[in-house]
């Protein structure tokens, strides 16, 4: 009788894996549904806070975007290529910081492009400020 039980035991030790598979499937479906692949590209304006100390040697370069979509610097209208040239010329000694002043009605696309050109030309910090 005792011997018989010992022989019987090893046959029963198979684990039932179906609940495990069910759980794993549920987890899998949850993660598939909740995963959203964000793959953004873009530009970053890494400027310091306006309160922090600015290097006194390099005064920032100002660009003004008018409501009619023009880029104004030193009282003259320039294009995107001009922005790049201007930043490049002043970045010989030190990377300059740029401040883009935007008036109401200026388009965000143009502001982004000006930022982009300034960053290409080697600007250290680009800041956008709204003027009313």
């Amino acid at each position: 009788m005792k011997k018989n039980r010992l022989v019987y035991k090893p046959e029963q030790t198979e684990i039932n894996v179906s609940p495990l598979i069910d759980m794993v499937f549920i987890l899998l479906i949850f993660f598939i549904v909740s995963t959203s692949f964000v793959d953004e590209v873009g530009i970053s304006s890494n400027y310091k806070d306006s309160n922090s100390n600015v290097n006194q040697d390099s005064s920032p370069i100002f660009f003004t975007l008018s409501g009619s979509g023009r880029i104004i610097s030193d009282n003259s209208s320039i294009d995107l290529e001009g922005v790049r040239q201007k930043v490049k010329n002043s970045s010989n000694s030190q990377a300059p910081s740029i401040i883009i002043q935007v008036k109401k009605g200026a388009r965000a696309g143009l502001a982004t492009q000006v930022m982009d050109q300034a960053l290409i030309a080697g600007a250290k910090a680009v800041k956008i400020a709204a003027i009313d």
């Binding site: 598979i21 964000v38 590209v41 200026a106 696309g109 982004t112 982009d116 050109q117």
Partner: protein, 134 residues
């Protein structure tokens, strides 16, 4: 006789081996767990500005969108300019998540400037999403 024997034989061998299935499912599960970032998309489509210098942005970011009609969106809802910094501080309790603004190229730049300065209060980095340069 022959037919019958074969049928019986088949029935005995008809147990599907599930171990490869479990292996594949586990691999898929691990892949999705690792790649899950749980970002909430703003929920609107914007026409992004096209620029020349682009870099890949961090995936685990707080996303905002500025629509063509100068409305700010976050997680599928329209939010106010003043609600931006509470939202960011709420998400940024533990880590320092950067902020990405999906800006429409026809949106008002003054509102964009105000959004960036609001976002800068609590986020370490504010980026503008642009078109892929290809």
């Amino acid at each position: 006789m022959k037919v019958r024997k074969r049928l019986i034989n088949n029935e005995e061998e008809g147990d599907i081996n599930v171990s490869p299935l479990i292996d594949v499912v586990f691999i898929l599960l691990i892949f999705f767990i690792v790649s899950a970032t749980f970002v909430t998309l703003p929920g609107i489509d914007v026409s992004r500005p096209k620029v020349q210098s682009t870099s890949s942005l961090k995936k685990n970011s707080i996303l905002f969108a500025l629509s063509e009609k100068n409305k700010i969106f976050h997680a599928g809802n329209q939010v106010d300019l003043k609600e931006i910094s509470p939202i960011i501080s709420q998400f940024n309790k533990d880590g320092n998540k950067p902020v990405i603004i999906q800006v429409d190229k026809w949106a008002d730049a003054t509102l964009l400037a105000k959004m960036i300065s609001e976002a800068k209060k609590f986020a370490p980095k504010v980026s503008l999403a642009t078109l892929k340069n290809k």
